[in-house]
Symmetry: C2
Subunit: 173 residues, 2 copies
């Protein structure tokens, strides 16, 4: 059995575990949307298998995860320099970032579904460390999740988004 993360620290019911090729935070892409080609899987616990029925009819899904390896340094700072601003450092409010260091370390990853076989959900779009606890899977529904027009995206609109960016690649040192 490979390392399964610190599932024991999660205050929620863990419905599955992410399996990816990423084992260190520094080398894990900061967003699934910036790493859409890489494949991973969620191994859903047997007791929740029935809940996957018809998920394969959706092209995309949200993985709601418990970012178990981002709480080690204590409380999340309310003002942070996001990874994507590290080369032009500027602090912004936590709730205006997608930083993994949050008051509640809940991750939200949009992934493309590749297949559901038994209790394995294969996907493309990896921003999770191997072993990250998954606490929910929700289907992507355009009618609910797609805002009209071209919404302003704050400071992110000013940043060049590099495919596959990781904390290490974004570190100016």
């Amino acid at each position: 059995m490979r390392r399964v993360g610190r599932v024991d620290t999660c205050p929620l019911t863990v419905v599955g575990v992410a399996r990816t090729a990423r084992t260190t935070k520094a080398d894990t892409p900061v967003q699934a949307g910036l790493n859409r080609a890489e494949h991973g899987a969620v191994h859903v616990a047997e007791e929740f298998a029935e809940g996957l029925a018809e998920l394969d009819g959706f092209d995309y899904a949200w993985l709601v995860s418990w970012l178990d390896r981002h709480g080690e340094t204590g409380e999340a700072p309310l003002v942070q320099v996001p990874y994507l601003l590290r080369r032009t450092p500027r602090p912004v409010g936590l709730f205006a970032t997608r930083s993994p260091r949050r008051v509640n370390p809940i991750g939200l990853s949009l992934v493309r579904l590749l297949g559901v076989e038994g209790t394995t959900v294969r996907f493309a779009g990896v921003d999770l460390l191997d072993g990250t606890p998954i606490v929910d899977i929700k289907p992507y529904v355009a009618a609910f999740d797609l805002p009209p027009g071209e919404p302003r995206c704050g400071w992110v609109d000013e940043v060049a988004l590099a495919e596959g960016a990781t904390p290490a690649s974004l570190d100016p040192r």
Copy 2:
């Protein structure tokens, strides 16, 4: 002080509370995306106020909520008839629905930001009961949250989505 929901039952840190005009589950729209005109607010706890800096640069945000009034009947069924399928009843897997009755009752609402003043975040798009605990706010970032093309959305693609639909309006009885 108005009723603030059952914040005490939430195993996560509550960062704020949703304020809406909706007080009963049956008459609360099932999705913010189907009720985009109605306004609400999040009253963020004073201790997290700093985390709101620069949120106002984004047009949309995700409210991650704890659906505190959907766990009363015990464990969530793994196979459910979604509200939106009540007129043509068919059970689907929980993880292929956006049902509020989930293994972990975590809600995900896409809302349009109207303004951030002090600790009050005003928004449009209401699917939360008044007093619902908010456990995270994340900015909507198109580069992360917008899938390319026109993804298949499973059973939802077969359903007529009525603006403002509520459990009561969708009940065939």
